[in-house]
């Protein structure tokens, strides 16, 4: 090995170690602070305690906002899975012009500034007479979740061999049964990963949701940012640790079902 190759190898190692430590830092800090007894974020904490978790039960507005977020995320992910899968089938199987353009159009909400999309929708909904915050949130979040579904299911479908459905039909399956027993299982991993990322994206969204909240309807990120701005204390870290735990569960489930490497496909 020449010195330059050794240098390159060392550089790669340093970058790898730094990346792991750097990327995990915010998560470690959040969890550490949440179990500390200090209210001023001292690290390492002087003593360990669960007092911030006790506070969760009495934090005003936390549980309603979590419930709102879960409902909105579940609804929008379900709608996005249905609309997105149908559309992906059309794009893969269809022979009509402009399919690439349609795919780009459906994925474009991912690439545009959320704030701008939110403002445009706010004004559009207002003009259409829709003023109800909760309904607006449901409608808007489908646009957040749809790109994740379209992108992943499209990729999975382009690898699917549609003659398998014909084979099932030849072997005596009815058409719906063939779809249900051949196509759906083949797309299962794609549904799960895209559904998971879509759900998490909806749970996390701030820049679009902020325009569709009122005094009664708030999503979790909006409620959390409000806490951070009003009185930052480790209660927020305790909520955050809960979300980290949710992410860890999602990661383990994803790893079991499709494998980590596949989840990193971009």
């Amino acid at each position: 090995m020449t010195p330059i190759e050794r240098l390159a190898r060392a550089l790669m190692w340093i970058a790898a170690t730094f990346t792991v430590v750097f990327l995990m830092t915010p998560l470690f800090v959040t969890v550490a602070v949440s179990f500390g007894s200090s209210s001023v974020f001292t690290l390492p904490p002087p003593d360990w305690s669960l007092r911030w978790y006790d506070r969760l039960t009495v934090t005003r507005g936390l549980w309603p906002s979590l419930l709102t977020s879960l409902q909105v995320a579940a609804f929008s992910t379900a709608v996005a899975l249905a609309l997105g899968t149908l559309c992906a089938i059309a794009l893969v199987r269809g022979r009509f012009p402009g399919r690439d353009g349609i795919a780009t159009f459906l994925i474009s909400p991912l690439m545009l500034p959320g704030l701008v999309v939110g403002i445009a929708m706010l004004q559009g909904f207002k003009a259409a007479g829709l003023r109800e915050a909760y309904a607006s949130l449901l409608i808007a979040h489908v646009i957040i979740t749809l790109p994740y579904v379209v992108r992943t299911v499209l990729a999975a479908l382009s690898l699917f061999d549609f003659s398998l459905i014909d084979a099932a039909r030849t072997l005596g399956c009815s058409y719906p049964a063939a779809i249900l027993r051949v196509l759906v299982p083949a797309l299962g991993p794609a549904f799960l990963t895209s559904g998971m990322f879509a759900f998490l994206a909806s749970m996390d969204n701030y820049p679009i949701s902020i325009f569709f909240t009122d005094a009664w309807t708030k999503t979790l990120p909006i409620q959390m940012l409000q806490y951070v701005e009003e009185n930052p204390d480790p209660t927020i870290a305790a909520i955050s640790s809960g979300l980290v735990l949710l992410a860890i569960v999602a990661l383990i489930v994803g790893d079991r079902l499709v494998g980590l490497r596949k989840m990193a496909d971009f």
């Binding site: 790669m12 990346t19 149908l86 445009a120 990322f197 998490l200 820049p207 980590l260």
Partner: protein, 276 residues
């Protein structure tokens, strides 16, 4: 059967109609309203916007922060993507977890954590004092450096993953062939690796840059009102100042910036693709 009468195409109708009606139409309307004044077409709002030196400052803030975040992500992400592609099983799993896990945790959570990390008694300050880079603890929170550091942390996975997806496809024998033909390691890197990884770099840079241009939560938590970007100014003018005229103008400028990054990167990617 005519191509446009393909019945399978009907399956795309619900999704496309949904997006056209509830997303494309409002965006088009926002755009139209910003250039249609009481007396017909006008660019007056934009002239007014750019006549104010404060707004130039805002545009400059937006672009310079996005630039530095992108540079930081590229410097760390490029070698990290190679490490991810070439690492042994254990390190690869550690890296994949470290990349995917933060992606599934919300931006508010991470930005809040960086508020703690960047304090005067925070981790970064302690490290820099221990390394004797700084003589005494300093506060990075509410500074541009702190903002760049926090944003780079949040967007780094979007640099690593696209580059990784290209690096893992490169045949290692290409480098060996280069070596057999007498190329020095540096020459091989510059003439084989860099051109082959360029498409990944382009898409990573486009992701990180456009996300940094449009980030809203991160600057509002890490730097505050003193430092306005196009995105925070847009948000503020709608949510707090009730100045929809200003907000629409900055929103359209932001949209134009984001779209031009996407279009430019798409064009670059196609050019790179056709060359190989």
């Amino acid at each position: 059967m005519k191509a446009w009468r393909d019945p399978v195409a009907l399956l795309a109708v619900p999704a496309v109609a949904y997006l056209l009606l509830l997303y494309a139409l409002p965006l088009a309307w926002l755009l139209a309203k910003s250039i249609i004044g009481p007396g017909g077409l006008t660019v007056q709002p934009y002239l007014d916007f750019f006549a104010d030196p404060f707004n130039w400052r805002v545009v400059w803030n937006t672009l310079s922060v996005a630039f530095w975040v992108t540079v930081a992500c590229l410097l760390v992400g490029y070698p990290a993507a190679f490490a991810l592609a070439r690492a042994g099983a254990a390190l690869q799993i550690a890296m994949l977890v470290a990349i995917i896990l933060p992606l599934s945790v919300g931006v508010v959570v991470k930005a809040f954590a960086w508020q703690i990390v960047l304090r005067r008694d925070g981790v970064v300050s302690q490290i820099l004092v221990a390394l004797q880079v700084w003589d005494e603890p300093q506060r990075l929170l509410f500074s541009e450096a702190g903002l760049v550091l926090g944003a780079a942390n949040i967007f780094l996975p979007f640099m690593i993953l696209p580059i990784y997806s290209v690096v893992k496809l490169i045949d290692p024998r290409l480098l060996e062939a280069g070596a057999t033909l007498g190329a020095t390691p540096l020459y091989r890197f510059a003439r084989i690796m860099v051109p082959l990884t360029l498409p990944g770099v382009v898409s990573g840079v486009a992701f990180v840059f456009s996300m940094s241009v449009s980030m809203y939560v991160v600057p509002s938590l890490l730097i505050g009102d003193r430092f306005q970007t196009l995105s925070t100014l847009t948000g503020r003018s709608f949510l707090f100042m009730r100045n929809e005229q200003l907000g629409s103008t900055t929103a359209v400028i932001l949209l134009a910036l984001a779209v031009s990054v996407v279009v430019a990167s798409g064009w670059l990617a196609r050019r790179l693709g056709s060359r190989t």
